[in-house]
Amino acid sequence: MSEYPKSWYVAAKACDLKIGKIEELSLFNKSYIIYRTTNDEVAIFEKYCPHMGAALSLGKIIDDCIQCPFHHWSYDREGTCVNIPSLDRIPSKAKLKKIFSREMYGLIWIWYGDEPLFELPAFNAALEFKNNYLPLRSKNFMQGSLRQVLENSYNCAQFIGLHGIKPSSKLTITNLDEYRDRSLKSCPEIDEVARYGVVIDCPNLELDFVSSLFGIKGSHLSIVVDGWPSGQFITSYLDGKELYQVMLGVQPIDRDTLIQHVHVMTKKCDNLLTDWFNYLFYALQNRYGTSQKTLADQTSKSEDMPLLTGIDLGVMEFSKFYSYWTREE
């Protein structure tokens, strides 16, 4: 089994890349280089030249190609060697491994594996429907394995235990074969082959003091988690009304360290004051919720022999889904 599922991961923040400037990245326990071409495209490669092993991060960008500092071999943005000084014939094997990338939602995404098996999921709330939402971005450094971090959103019990949600009746989790709300135009889209979704229902919700203070009213909370093998969209509804959507993207640094990129889109209503009130509330809630998760991830230990119960349906199913995407062909 591969250490990471074949999927799309966050490699960097798009604004950190400048044209012609080489940046170094640590991802998947390996070193990479990344730069932006004059056409505003992103090129990303493993760090070392396949000729004599020099670090390409010490090289130069000339005509959108990266030039190795040692013997001046040049590679274009596809990784093909296009020039070896003083040689007429370039060996066919002289190329850098192509890494597929996309630039979306202010982030650079890369595919872990040979060729993408599905398209980068579409966070429509941040695309064509972005005017209906108020955006907020943050990132969190986390200690823990990728699986631990991802399965958190499917862990129904943690909503009660960790995040302090108080339902008067039993909290339920149901697998979603289809998107919950096709009528929701801004519904996120994930290729069916790479999607695992659940809905967590909290009927008869008792809202806490802070929620009441912010004027939040409602009794039935539904949380829809639409995941792909390395990230998730979370849509939250109160009494059937959409509150916000969250995109969680992951940047795995090494086996035990990762950065979680959080992109919250809070649904606007007609009242500007209420919008900003809600924005502040959900921003704080997401920030607080993520920090609780971070703490839990940092303190949780083994993931080999978890003790699972009925309420852990989401975790069990996600575990199978995750394993499927880490299998070797």
Binding site: C49, H71, L87, K93
Partner: protein, 331 residues
């Protein structure tokens, strides 16, 4: 990086000779912790730390050789050892049968990386190519992440002279791998079976380098680098129009899997009866050698051992060198 999996049996530099005194020093070499000291007869002893008397270890405060600041302080406030510890150390020299073979030559402590007796003697330096030379040279070292092989093969990687160091000459660099079994047998610095060598020749510098060297009076018609290598180092003699100008000793200290120290020492030939002229030449050449080494350092400090490297025509000598190195590792 896993480059230390393979290093040939050879003489390596443990440390510059003046770093070792009566007071024991802790070293990391060949991925092992070892302790070196001099006996009262100035004999040098190197023993693995695990074979060292634990009571002596506890009594001593070790200095790591790579930490130059500590070493400087150590020289100023050099500690004295008490008579009892000194006697213990001298007894250890006699009683311990697992000592490394060591030798002090050319201002360095050389160490053989095997229990069995050395297969060849410490190479001669300066070589007989330098009939007359100044006894004071200059030396420096750099800590790298490159392997012993990468550091020693660098001189044979002649293409990098052009692209990394900016060597531009009237004609392309000509390379000739030495065959020690025939006409060059006398040129090998160790037994021919353990030697590898090459001659690199080029003509007058051109371009920016040509302009600078013309102004400084360092350009000439024919340059030749005569490289004589043993498995862990080499002596490079520079000839300008057939006259030897200096000899550069390059050797290595393989510390651990991620660290190798490159040591360079240069001795200049007496080429004229005017001392000032030689002094001028040696100063500029020293600067040039240091700058050239500094250009290699960023590469050496972040390099990966490629599993299946892609070779091109100008890597011919590197390929031969790698085959030689592989063979030396099997000895």
């Amino acid at each position: 990086m896993q480059h230390l999996n393979k290093i040939p049996k050879s003489w390596y530099i443990a440390c510059p000779a003046n770093h070792l005194s009566r007071y024991p020093v802790k070293f990391e070499l060949f991925s092992k912790n070892m302790i070196g000291f001099r006996t009262k007869d100035h004999k040098i002893v190197f023993i693995d730390e695990k074979n060292f008397n634990s009571t002596i270890i506890k009594a001593l405060e070790y200095k790591h050789v790579l930490n130059s600041k500590i070493r400087l302080l150590d020289r100023i406030f050099r500690k004295r050892i008490d008579e009892q510890t000194a006697a213990d150390l001298d007894r250890l020299d006699v009683s311990c049968d697992k000592k490394y073979f060591v030798q002090e030559s050319y201002g360095y402590i050389w160490i053989w990386n095997d229990d069995r007796p050395p297969l060849f003697a410490v190479p001669t330096y300066p070589t007989k190519n330098m009939t007359s030379y100044y006894s004071t040279g200059f030396s420096f070292y750099d800590v790298t992440k490159a392997s012993v092989r990468r550091i020693t093969e660098n001189s044979f990687d002649y293409a990098h002279l052009t692209y990394l160091h900016g060597l531009e000459s009237k004609n392309e660099i000509q390379v000739e791998v030495k065959d020690y079994s025939e006409k060059n047998i006398g040129e090998s610095l160790v037994e021919p079976d353990y030697s590898f060598g090459a001659k690199l020749k080029w003509t007058e510098y051109t371009g920016v380098l040509g302009i600078v060297t013309n102004i400084l009076g360092l350009n000439c018609e024919h340059f030749e680098l005569d490289i004589n290598n043993w498995p862990s180092g080499q002596v490079v003699t520079l000839y300008e129009d057939g006259v030897p100008k200096y000899e550069l000793l390059l050797s290595t200290s393989p510390i651990n899997q991620d660290t190798t120290v490159q040591h360079i020492k240069v001795m200049f030939a007496k080429t004229s009866s005017y001392l000032l002229r030689d002094l001028y030449y040696s100063m500029l050449s020293s600067l040039q050698i240091k700058l050239t080494s500094d250009q290699d350092m960023p590469i050496f400090k972040d390099i990966s051992e490629t599993e299946n490297p892609i070779y091109v025509s100008y890597d011919d000598v590197v390929i031969k060198y790698r085959n030689y190195f592989e063979k030396m590792c099997e000895n």
